[in-house]
């Protein structure tokens, strides 16, 4: 059982902070979330899947938003395979495995955001498998006109709010939502600060650490995560770490099913500093603060329409804009190349890959692509590919 660290008083070094995050990341019994729930009678936990869910509403309902990103490489999938055909990604199998093995038996609600047809169908399976768990497929608009997609989305957010009210038996006021928005604005600012810090000084904030910091943050109360982010920034800045002759790269295509931690580490060990990525996008999905005045539902809807990242589960209305976001991010982070790393059978990422890679080619940005699964075990080919890519950039770019 992993110890639950009180981050209000505790870790001050990056090693301590990351050890705490690693413990949460490794814990497929979700001990910390169970402890949060048990600390106060009546508390509820709402799980959510990638890529984006309006966590502010879950928080405003007094619930803990619990990020569920599959079972990783430490869990054997036995039951999950009995639900799916052969040719499919692994995250739905391991999510089912988490469910049927009782690891999520404390989760009171589940939100399945729109990502692809697999996650969509998983939402219906959950209704059949766990009829006593409130579950919701959360469809985000593909029309970005405030009068069309915005009106639709505001009503969907309102429906989500009502669902959460029914689940918790408490009214969610506009002020509740505004307070949560403010906390998540703080969170987004700190998250951006960490990523900016990594882009500036990647040797001081390795991606394997930043990743754990962010993944753990999606399983804890936002205020606790805010303290942790601030502590990490201060600790990482203060530490003296050697700078290596690594190549600066961006990783795209990994927004849903996550690669094993060893894969993330392997890319770094192969001579790459990851200075930009789309791992577990949730807390970076909105790129700007959400206004805390006015109608909070409209504020969340408009933020989605106007200030969200480009990723494969969103439609790009204008052909000329396709991939523009990625190129701008690459330039902003001063990445020298892109690794397009996708889970096997990931429709969104794999259908997008030719278009994004074409745009990268046009922009003169070197790139390579490979596939993984959350339980991929063989890292040598990844290291070789990433290492060769890094060498080629050093030699030829």
């Amino acid at each position: 059982m992993n110890a639950i660290v009180d981050t209000a008083t505790a870790p001050t070094s990056t090693a301590e902070i990351i050890a705490h995050c690693q413990a949460m990341f490794d814990d497929l019994d979700f001990t910390a979330a169970r402890a949060w729930k048990n600390a106060v009678p009546g508390r509820k936990v709402v799980g959510f899947l990638p890529v984006y869910a309006p966590l502010e509403l879950i928080h405003a309902a007094g619930c803990l938003p619990l990020g569920l990103f599959g079972g990783g490489d430490r869990m054997e999938v036995i039951h999950g395979d009995a639900y799916y055909q052969s040719y499919i990604c692994r995250i739905p199998r391991s999510t089912v495995e988490l469910g049927v093995t009782g690891r999520l038996d404390f989760v009171d609600g589940m939100i399945f955001p729109f990502v692809c047809d697999v996650i969509r169908n998983l939402s219906g399976m959950w209704k059949i498998m766990f009829p006593n768990v409130w579950s919701k497929f959360f469809d985000t608009p593909q029309n970005f006109d405030p009068e069309i997609g915005g009106r639709y989305y505001a009503a969907e957010l309102q429906e989500l709010r009502e669902g959460l009210q029914t689940l918790t038996g408490r009214t969610i006021s506009d002020d509740d939502i505004r307070r949560s928005i403010a906390l998540y604005n703080d969170n987004r600012r700190l998250v951006r600060a960490v990523y900016d810090f990594r882009a500036r000084t990647p040797w001081k904030a390795p991606t394997s650490e930043v990743y754990l910091l962010m993944r753990a943050g999606l399983m804890m109360d936002v205020e606790e995560h805010n303290r942790l982010l601030a502590a990490y920034l201060a600790a990482a800045d203060a530490e003296d770490r050697p700078k290596r002759d690594n190549v600066r790269i961006a990783v795209y295509g990994s927004f849903c099913e996550q690669p094993p931690l060893n894969l993330i580490k392997s890319v770094e060990m192969a001579g790459c500093y990851v200075v930009e990525d789309d791992y577990a996008l949730v807390n970076r999905f909105l790129t700007q603060d959400v206004p805390t005045d006015g109608d909070p539902i409209e504020a969340l809807a408009n933020a989605y329409l106007k200030h969200s990242v480009e990723t494969s589960c969103k439609y790009v209305p204008r052909e000329e804009d396709k991939g523009k976001f990625h190129i701008e991010q690459v330039k902003k982070a001063r990445a020298e190349g892109v690794i397009y790393a996708t889970p096997s059978f990931c429709d969104p990422a794999l259908l997008d890959r030719p278009m994004i890679c074409r745009r990268l080619t046009e922009a003169g940005i070197p790139h390579i692509a490979f596939k993984y699964a959350e339980n991929s075990g063989q890292m040598q080919p990844i290291r070789e590919q990433a290492g060769t890519f890094a060498d080629s950039i050093k030699l030829w770019s």
């Binding site: 055909q85 499919i88 697999v118 998983l122 219906g124 608009p141 997609g149 052909e319 429709d347 794999l350």
Partner: protein, 427 residues
């Protein structure tokens, strides 16, 4: 292999499809505009009201699959960077473009004037049209149809679709066609649709008879051809479904089963199946033969509902034209959530007195396939009838293993026999 024997309605349909391809490939002479759009949730009546022709990439992929061309097209697309993991309809379409973009009539496909992305029940459509847009550089009109995640549509979903129709799709089609929107033309087309839909439902429901005068899967793909594609809303579709109805009525009167591709009437029906999932197109006839050789007839299928669930009562409604289009899009089979699909299939097994549910799980179609093993178990549990699971692909010949499919089917039929013997003993 001997020549395939076709029923009169099949020949009629063949003529209709050929005529549509000729109209598409002659657009430079006729000046007509051409749209590319998808089958589920397509807005054919709306396109008709603007005089725009309808070209369907999925149908082209099916045509190329049945004509044994898709394998090369898929390889062509994979060579240009498309993953082996994704939808083979997409790759067959893109590969076809790479190899000259020739239509089934041997003439080159013209570039579409508009990509009408009616995004219903399948995520891949969205990326497919982003990929085509990159190639054709033509306007893309996106109609986002929300998924019925809670098992029903809501007013918000319907309003969202109607607003898109009014503010995005119709103005966009006016611009492409140069034709002003005429709601009465749309109403007329919707009226035509409803008539044809009545006859289609009558035909599909004949599967409840014993022997079944139809095969609702292999025959069914022909029955749904006109109404799911470029003909819904036309007088031709009405005539086709009247002819089809008469043809099926004649078999009902004679107590006959459907005509097999070999030309015999398939009346000695030993097993009645409900089938979930699309068929395999590259080995379509071989696949079909595996069924009728064993005496298995398909009495109902979900694939015949991808372009609309008319059997559940939906009809296009000329009195509420835009709302009716919205309801149509929302109600297509794969836009319904898994519990609803389980309900529908359970009802089919019961209403059509089937021996069980067979799932043909498609390698590259997650919209249909993700979670189908659970569907099978649920339907088995509720009906007490055995289910079976086979895996093939749409148009990628690499994923059709005849021996495996045949083995599984034979095992399944043995299972049904055992179940029957058990039931007889219990009685």
């Amino acid at each position: 292999m001997s020549e395939v024997v076709k029923e009169p309605s099949m020949l009629l349909q063949k003529e209709m499809i050929a005529k549509n391809y000729d109209a598409i490939t002659s657009k430079h002479h006729t000046g007509r505009k051409v749209s590319s759009t998808f089958v589920p949730g397509n807005l054919n009546e709306l396109l008709l009201s603007f005089g725009i022709l309808n070209n369907l990439p999925e149908i082209n992929a099916i045509q190329n699959g049945m004509r044994k061309l898709s394998g090369d097209y898929i390889l062509e697309a994979e060579k240009s960077g498309h993953s082996e993991d994704v939808c083979t309809y997409v790759k067959a379409d893109i590969g076809m473009m790479g190899k000259g973009n020739v239509a089934p009539n041997g003439k080159p496909f013209p570039d579409p004037d508009v990509l009408l992305l009616s995004y219903t029940g399948c995520y891949t459509f969205m990326k497919w049209f982003e990929l085509l847009r990159e190639e054709y550089k033509c306007p893309t009109l996106m109609l986002h149809v929300p998924y019925e995640g809670d098992g029903h549509s809501t007013k918000n979903m319907r309003d969202y679709i109607v607003r898109q129709l009014k503010e995005v799709i119709i103005p966009g089609l006016e611009q492409v066609s140069g034709v002003k929107f005429d709601i009465d033309r749309l109403r007329e087309a919707l009226r035509n649709s409803a008539k044809a839909e009545d006859d289609l439902v009558w035909v599909l429901e004949q599967g409840k008879r014993t022997p079944s005068p139809i095969d609702a899967y292999f025959g069914g793909v022909y029955y749904i051809g006109p109404i799911f594609t470029a003909f819904r809303g036309t007088a031709e579709a009405i005539a086709y479904y009247q002819a089809l109805r008469q043809e099926v009525q004649a078999r009902v009167d004679a107590g006959q089963g459907p005509v097999t591709p070999d030309g015999s009437n398939f009346t000695d029906q030993k097993y009645r199946l409900v089938v979930e999932g699309p068929p395999n197109w590259t080995s379509f006839r071989e696949f079909w033969k595996m069924f009728y050789d064993e005496g298995a007839v398909v009495v109902a299928s979900s694939y015949t509902k991808v372009g609309g669930m008319y059997d559940l009562g939906f009809r296009h409604d000329p009195d509420h034209p835009l709302e009716s289009l919205a309801d149509y899009c929302l109600g297509c089979y794969t836009n319904r959530n898994l519990p609803t699909r389980v309900d529908i299939l359970t009802k089919y097994v019961e209403d059509y007195q089937a021996d069980g549910l067979l799932i043909n799980s498609i390698k590259s179609c997650n919209s249909f396939s993700a979670g189908q093993l659970m569907i099978m178990k649920e339907v088995e549990r509720r009906t007490g009838k055995p289910g079976a699971f086979i895996e093939t692909d749409l148009v990628d010949p690499r994923y059709f293993s005849a021996a495996n499919v045949k083995n599984r089917l034979e095992s399944y039929f043995q299972m049904i026999e055992q179940k029957r013997r058990g039931a007889a003993r219990a009685a």
